[in-house]
Structures are given as C-alpha cells and as structure tokens.
Symmetry: C2
Subunit: 205 residues, 2 copies
Amino acid sequence: MLLCDIGNTSYDFLDGDKNYKESVKTFDPKRVKQKVFYICVNSKLKEILKDLPNWVDISVHVDMKNYYETMGVDRVFACEAVSEGVIVDAGSAVTVDVVKSSTFEGGFIYPGIKMMEQTYKNISPVLDYSFNFELNLDIMPKNSQDAISYGYLKTLYLEVISHGMKIFLTGGDAKKFAQIFPHAKVDEGLIFKGMKKIIKKADLC
Amino acid sequence: MLLCDIGNTSYDFLDGDKNYKESVKTFDPKRVKQKVFYICVNSKLKEILKDLPNWVDISVHVDMKNYYETMGVDRVFACEAVSEGVIVDAGSAVTVDVVKSSTFEGGFIYPGIKMMEQTYKNISPVLDYSFNFELNLDIMPKNSQDAISYGYLKTLYLEVISHGMKIFLTGGDAKKFAQIFPHAKVDEGLIFKGMKKIIKKADLC
C-alpha cells in the first residue's frame, strides 16, 4: 500500500515501511502508476491530482463534524491517529491539537522554528540567533539568545503541559522539541497512522 | 524638566506632564536648546547626541550589575521604576521582565503584535488575520483566526501569570494587552518613572 501526505513543499511517501520525500516543485505525480492513497494541503496540486484515477484522496472519508472547515487536513489526520492526547506537529508552523475520547477538542497554531527565528531577526539584528533548545526553562534569562529562546519555548511549553495529557510530537522538528518535552512520545509517522485508520474504516483496501 | 526616551523609530518626550513624539527620521535634536535627560536604544543616534552638551545620557547612572550587557536600556529603566512585579512592555517586541525586591531577576523577548501577525501571514496566506484580543482563552479554538490568536496570546499569558506577581503593562500596545490581563496595571509612563528615579538618585536635577 502506497500512502502520500502532500504538503506545500514536499510529497511525503510511505511505501510499506519505507519513507521518502519528493519535491513539490520537481516531482510529476503522473510518474506513479500504482494506486496512491493521499491527503493534500496544497489546493493547486489537489486540482491536478483529481484527474489522475490512481491517486485516491482519502480526506473525503473523514467525519468532519468535530473539525473546522479551514483546518489543515494534515492536522485532521494526526488527530485521527490519537484517541487521547495533545499533538504537537512541528514544521513551518507548530500546530497543537487536543483530542479527548477520540474527539477533536480544538487547537492552535504557533510559528515554526525557522519562521520565528526570522521574526526575531526582523525585530532587530541584535536578536539574530538560533534558538537554544538546551535552555533551562526554570530560570529567567539574562542574555539575548536565551531571552528569545525562552520567549519562543517556555510560552509554548506552558500551554502544552497545561492540558495534563500525554504529548505526541510529530513533524520535521519533532526531535528538537523532544528536548523541551522529554516525556513526550515522538512519532514521526502519526499522519500515516491516521491515514491507515481511515483507509481501514472506509474499507478502501 | 525635559525627559526623552529614544527608540528606533521615535523620540518620546515628557515635558512636565505633556507627552509628545518626534520621528527619528525627521527630528533634529539640535532644535532642543534646553537640558534634556535621555536614554537611547539607537546606537547611531547616541553618537550624534554625545556631541550635544544639553543632551544628558542618564543610562550611565544605573547600577548595571543585575542586568545584562546587551539588554535594551528601555527595559532597564522600566525595571528601575518597579520594586516588585512582572513588566510587560508591548511594542515592536514584547519584553517581559521580572523584578523582585527591586532586583532584576531576568526576562524574555516575544514578538510584538504586528511582527507576529506578519509571521503567520508568511507561514500561509490563509493565516492572514488580525489577532482577536476578545478571545476566550479558556476554550481551545476551532477556527483559523482564533487558532493564531490563541497561539500568540494564551502562551504569553500562561508565562506571565506563572510568576504570581503584580503585572505592569507599558508600551504602545499596553491597552490591547490589558484585554488579556484585566488585573494588570496599565502604566504607559513606566520608563519615564524609572528615569525620574535615576535622576533623583544621581542628584542630577
């Protein structure tokens, strides 16, 4: 079974237990001849894939009544994979979603690492630092790098732990955030898990 | 007594109880003939003001041992005004500083409203919203505008209240943040208060 999670920059494939990426800019989906179950946040690509009969959009099989219309489909599928917990999906944005008794309770969007580092740099060139993920979040900072790192990380940390639930980390920067959330479960395949669940539920395969 | 707090974009004057601003781009400091006690975060302007004998830099009179070298002088003077509390100075950046028993304990830097709205817009055009300051922070969002507003505000809120101290709001966006921190004391003249305290301590006037 071939799965594909399509973002704004890449096609993320799962073929059995083999994971690989292709660039949205250069990859031609017509090259795939076998059946692909996919989800896609990229509306332009969705139009193209509609006309390819072996590309099957599985997002139509999700019961959307608990989600909201403009919510990214990747967030929806990560939620489908979890019955209870806070899901932190760290990419160009960090999305934080709460699931209780297999029901989406709501969520929020926070900037990803690169975007937020750029923001501080734009505020002032003296704030042009990479974030320090080894920061002790229990101590108020007394230097510029830690002052922005704490501003980015401690604030997010406090919200995420405030739910008192199990934390799931996914997305490209999951391992970095694992330094801040040492008790979290890192699961980079969470979206694929959600996809498999929906495929099974809808009896597609 | 004429006071001036100089930022990167404006000269903020206090003349008795009259407050007015001049643009850094257009204002010529030589036009002021009377004595001005000032602080200045703008290093280029500092060089120019050095040569004007009626412009008196009062930052040299602060005991800097509890602060850190690269800390903005505006933050230092806001801290000097307060003996106990959390100071939230909301401008192009939001700085949050903790003072206990008249001693600076540390602080952090968070992006200001405009910078953060721009960040979300850069992540995706579907996140191009103004923040909703009337958001109920006790409810997890289920729409895009609230998802970014909550991401910006609830995270900051939880850190600021975690200190369990009196909250002082200052800076150009103080009144907006007062909606999130209803028990905070809004004091837009906090930096001037710190300046007056230092002038008195150093017996300059």
